[in-house]
């Protein structure tokens, strides 16, 4: 398992979900004080970490 890959995936997941949350605010889908903006980046971090672990295992098993 590669720690670097997991961290990269987690960071990118965090950023992706953060910007999606910001898009939702800027396009008027949710209000500025919505909890979505708080939860989305954390959700992205969790999803990114999980996928990073999975991708890392998969990558290791194929090499």
């Amino acid at each position: 398992m590669k720690v670097g890959r997991i961290i990269s995936t987690a960071v990118l997941g965090f950023l992706l979900f953060l910007f999606v949350g910001i898009d939702l605010v800027l396009f008027g889908v949710v209000a500025l004080d919505s909890i979505v903006l708080t939860l989305f980046p954390l959700l992205g971090l969790a999803v990114g970490t999980a996928l990073g672990v999975a991708a890392s295992k998969r990558h290791t098993s194929t090499t």
Binding site: L12, L16, G28, L32, L51, G52, S61, T62
Partner: protein, 191 residues
């Protein structure tokens, strides 16, 4: 001084738009508790509805759409005896849970006035996004009177009136592309 007081509190409840960015304030929808009154008349108003007046006490729960720039005739009053007294208050914009709020104006002084009115021009920078709901809270305290209100305000226009929207979309795309690229091994076939 109390003039100032009512003007600013009015700002909190009535004139938010300008609030954050220019100077005092602009109006909006709201719930207003306490012995305070505040009204604001937008001289030009929105493109769709033209000039309009808002009374903070009688506003319902609807979000008020304000123009990006306008001139507002405002009035403010506090129902207390007209004698010298200290007062304080603030106006804040609510941020997402966990991030608290941003104080955009506050006041603290003494006065013997109980009402005021005036005219305020404002022009919001293009960076301030249109169509986004801002939740603005104001509070004013003095002996015998505590007023508090919340205002939901949107600036008239669409998301692309501000450069923030395209910038955010680009960043979303870039981070999405990076994310997909890095998890690609998951989707490779194991032979």
């Amino acid at each position: 001084m109390i003039m100032r007081l009512s003007m600013r509190f009015l700002g909190a409840i009535t004139m938010l738009g300008a609030v954050a960015l220019v100077s005092p304030a602009s109006v909006a929808h709201a719930s207003l508790s306490g012995p305070c009154e505040a009204t604001g008349t937008f001289q030009t108003g929105t493109k769709s509805d033209g000039p309009f007046t808002i009374n903070a006490k009688s506003l319902g729960s609807a979000t008020v759409v304000i123009p990006r720039e306008d001139t507002v005739n405002w009035t403010g009053a506090v129902d207390v005896p007209a004698q010298s007294r200290s007062y304080s208050g603030s106006i804040t914009v609510k941020l997402p849970p966990g991030f608290g709020s941003v104080t955009i104006d506050s006041w603290n002084s003494t006065s013997d006035n109980v009402a005021n009115d005036g005219v305020e021009e404002y022009k919001l920078p293009s960076l301030v996004p249109a169509g986004v709901t801002f939740v603005v809270s104001g509070q004013h305290k003095e002996p015998g009177a505590t007023c508090a209100g919340t205002v939901h305000v949107q600036i008239e226009g669409g998301a692309f009136d501000s450069p923030l929207a395209p910038a955010s979309l680009v960043l979303t795309g870039l981070s999405g592309a990076g994310f997909v690229a890095i998890i690609r091994p998951m989707f490779r076939r194991i032979v």
